[in-house]
Amino acid sequence: MAAHTKTPAPQPTLEGWQEAYDATPERDVSFTTLSGEPIRPLYTEADLPPADAIGLPGQYPFTRGVYPSMYRGRLFTMRQFAGFGTAEETNERFRYLLDHGQTGLSTAFDMPSLMGHDSDHPLSLGEVGREGVAVDTVDDMQTLFQGIDLGDVTVSMTINAPAAIMLAYYVVAAERAGVPADKLGGTIQADILKEYIAQKEWCFPIDPAMRLLGDMVEWSTEQMPRWNSVSISGYHIREAGATAAQELAFTLKDGLTYVEQAVERGLDVDDFAPRLSFFFNAQIDFFEEIAKYRAARRIWARELKETFGAKNPKSWLMRFHTQTAGVSLTAQQPLNNIVRTAIEALAGVLGGTQSLHTNSYDEALALPTEEAVRIALRTQQIIAHETGVTNTIDPLGGSYFVEALTDKMEAQAYEYFAKIDELGGMVQAVKQNYPQREIADASYELQGEIDHERRIIVGVNRYTEGDDAQTPILRIDPALERKQVASLQGVRARRDAAAVEATLTELKRVAAGGGNLMPPLIDAARAFTSEGEIVHALQEVWGDYRETPVF
């Protein structure tokens, strides 16, 4: 009798798996990403790109991260965005956050400040200090950072249309505290194209707004070596309803447009590109988001190196801040938002973010309470210190699925680039409402899926029971508006009116002619000229902006 022979185990084959898979019924749902991209049941080795497209961290094309050591060298910066009431209240919140282990500051301005209106402007009524801090003059800026060493902490400021004015206030406030401009570290958002695309806080028509931005980039490149002059932001594009691919494509195209402009103005790409940074959303579709960040790094590196000929490897690095998706938060069963935010934040970290803001669970209801902010910050600390995900670099690198999604995202971005180029570039595309329309369509489609329950939002269109608890919310005291208006009027009464007039005349002269607007803006800041006065003076020369909305 023959010795017992073991039948060889059948070699696993893709066909075999496919057969077995097809024999099993699928659930009756659409297997697509949040952005509507179809996802296959399985990804395999065949989906991997060539090894050099994945590369190594800290090396071109940086798919796996911008630094060789990533979080083993330094954790992501925990940077919670804060601002409400007057500069005094926000200063208190800043100190609270620093005391609780936050490592950088991020300033939210109120709507009047974002739109270039003083707190006593008729349009500011009811909006002063509501969604951010009110800053009217350099005095407010100084109060905002009272007792905080600006040479030590890095500060991010989320303001765009009037960014150059706020930067002038910041430089002068620091100067008064004894910190020179070249010691200031931080970021000002100043991404004006995405304002016309998505966030919709503008002061001037697109062309002069681009010039003002160019002036600021040029000036800060020369005077503020530690400063990130523009934070090219997809966050608001995504919040306005864009898909992940649209966020990626429009944001990078905005960034490439700023690079193009700076090069056209005669700057050497390697002098300013290392100081550009990015700001992305982290939505709830976990892998899609991770793929988006990885694709973004690769595209940016390639474009800067190949298209713009940047030689300094630092110019190729796409460093970015991430904020979890405000739009994913629900007003129903708000505690569930803690879970959503944790998952989104984890995607940001696995995507290699340099800094992170986690939303508070009550933000679909109002500005966050202190307790909600603390939980949000603790979420980041749990990810950083408990989960172990920071032990190794790009733990998802080489994942069949993640690499395939990364490639797909990249291809989609290039398709959008081509369409935008056909329209004559991003400025032209924005003037023709192209990205605005794409976003409106995507957002309407997603809403339809939610309304028809093809997409489930827990607590909103499924599992809706158990929402009876009252969530405490932060109320902004309406007295703060009166306090801010009084303080602005106090500054107006104290300052030298003739000096203010002189700075405004000079601003208008430079705005109408050539020359860099930053020096006259800094003089205006020193003379206590208010933001609204500066904006109105510039509008006298440039006009204002009205959009033709598309829906």
């Binding site: 009811g126 509501r130 306005a240 629900t330 939002i457």
Partner: protein, 134 residues
């Protein structure tokens, strides 16, 4: 054939959060209503002016800036001052539950908060705006 409902979708205040307003505008349009979207950053005066000029049956105010307790009373007051009492006023946005009774007291017919299904808003408009005037 019945007259189409005319709705002004308005964005008072300074915030730029227009995702909701645009979705609602489009949904109402797709439901067969005539929709006039004001665009962003409108003053209460501009909104009331649009309501009058467009001979609207309803106005939907979208507010996410937290300024609703300043802006809505002002708009309602301006409508009253023009003797307009047959225009349905609705509000949508991040409106805390505590503020809703006061807004309704002022004459706001309904407040839609985040997560409200678009279809509910369409149906509400259809049921209430059309029956008001004939």
């Amino acid at each position: 054939m019945s007259k189409k409902i005319r709705v002004v979708v308005a964005k008072p205040g300074l915030d730029g959060h227009d995702r909701g307003a645009k979705i609602i505008a489009r949904a109402l349009r797709d439901a067969g209503m005539e929709v006039i979207y004001t665009g962003l950053h409108q003053t209460p005066e501009q909104i009331v002016e649009t309501v009058i000029q467009e001979d609207a049956d309803a106005v939907g105010l979208s507010i996410l800036s937290g300024a609703h307790m300043t802006l809505v009373p002002r708009i309602v007051e301006l409508l009253k001052a023009q003797d307009i009492d047959d225009v349905l006023v609705t509000v949508g946005g991040t409106i805390p539950a505590d503020d809703i009774p006061e807004l309704k007291e002022l004459g706001v017919a309904e407040v839609f908060t985040p997560g409200a299904p678009t279809q509910d808003i369409v149906e509400f408009m259809r049921a209430n705006a059309s029956t008001r005037r004939n």
